[in-house]
């Protein structure tokens, strides 16, 4: 199963979104989360992103979802820091954080591959809410 890693500037956002996604997938997939800096400020934590990706990789790849501008850069750095065994297995979605994470988590839980999971996450942009 594809793993999902949630990256936010806020630990609360990451923790809460984890709960929402986990509730929808009932433990079927691995979901990681990194929010806030090591010392508890609003911001991102590259080392933690690396660790969470490792925890969530079970052979089928990991999709990373991010919130604001600099979390993309932090996620990209995390990918560069990962060993060669992860090369090409981890993708960052160009998707809205909450909506993309829920959609991607459900898609991963039905066993879709990483490209499909990423596609579904990115399609969450076009979600019509009203």
């Amino acid at each position: 199963m594809v793993g999902i890693v949630i990256v936010s500037h806020s630990k609360k956002v990451a923790d809460g979104l984890y709960e929402l996604a986990d509730q929808m997938t009932g433990g079927k997939i691995r979901i990681g989360k990194s929010g806030g800096t090591k010392d508890g400020r609003l911001g991102t934590n590259v080392d933690e992103i690396v660790e969470e990706i490792k925890k969530c990789e079970s052979g089928d790849g990991v999709l990373v979802l991010v919130d604001l501008g600099s979390s993309v850069m932090s996620a990209q750095m995390a990918l560069e820091f990962l060993d060669g065994e992860y090369a090409g297995k981890v993708e960052i979605a160009d998707a809205p954080l909450v909506e993309g994470t829920i959609a991607a988590s459900v898609e991963a839980s039905i066993g879709s591959d990483i490209l499909k999971v990423k596609e579904v996450a990115e399609a969450a942009k076009n979600l019509v809410k009203i």
Partner: protein, 216 residues
């Protein structure tokens, strides 16, 4: 004629001063960020450079390249904002450009600055004029190269680079942000000085002041 070279202890001395300068400007940089961002740039950098200070002993016995790479890694791990991956990449790429060296000549300095700046551009996909740290760095690099090619010495060239960086900072007041958090404000960011350009200037100015005091 003597040629000015930077030794390893020059590099670590400069790092020490940068740590201090960032600490001194923590509030100033944060206030600049409050106007057009999220009021944390000084806090972010101070956190990162304090971590550099704390970890410095672990890599102080290494060559200049390794030291700079480690500085970059520490910044990436601890800063927390956009400036973390950006300055982190800057120092890591500088380190790569002078890997194994224990003294730096003019060419090394140009090469590392060039490598660092292109790292920032790759990482953040910003260009000169987007109201970012690049607006201080790119004119500084261009001025450094120009001055050296005109035969001016390193002191003069780095001094000129610092002036160019300062003008770049001033220019950020007149333009709208296209990258980073300030871009949410669009045209409304005009009139405000970019915090990242300011911190970049402070670092370049630190190098210039340090080099200026060296005996040639």
């Amino acid at each position: 004629m003597m040629i000015l070279m930077l030794t390893k202890s020059d590099v670590t001395n400069i790092l020490d001063v940068i740590i201090k300068i960032i600490e001194d400007n923590r509030q100033y940089l944060t206030d600049l960020d409050a106007a057009i961002g999220d009021a944390d740039h000084g806090i972010n950098l101070d956190r990162g450079f304090k971590a550099v200070r704390d970890k410095m002993t672990q890599f102080l016995d290494k060559d200049i390249g390794t030291i700079l790479k480690n500085v970059g890694m520490v910044l990436v791990s601890t800063v927390g904002g956009a400036s973390g991956p950006l300055y982190g990449t800057f120092f890591m790429r500088m380190g790569n450009a002078v890997s194994g060296k224990s003294v730096l000549d003019e060419n090394d300095i140009v090469a590392m600055f060039e490598a660092g700046l292109s790292g920032i551009k790759e990482r953040g996909k910003a260009q000169f004029g987007d109201k970012t740290m690049i607006d201080a760095m790119e004119p500084a690099l261009n001025e450094l190269k120009k001055a050296l090619s005109e035969g001016r010495n390193l002191k003069e060239a780095i001094g000129a680079a610092a002036n160019a960086a300062y003008n770049g900072v001033l220019m950020t007041k007149d333009i709208a942000a296209k990258k980073g958090r300030a871009s949410y404000l669009g045209e409304r960011s005009i009139g405000h000085q970019d915090p990242g350009a300011t911190s970049a200037y402070l670092m370049i100015k630190t190098v210039a002041d340090y080099v200026d005091k060296l005996q040639q």
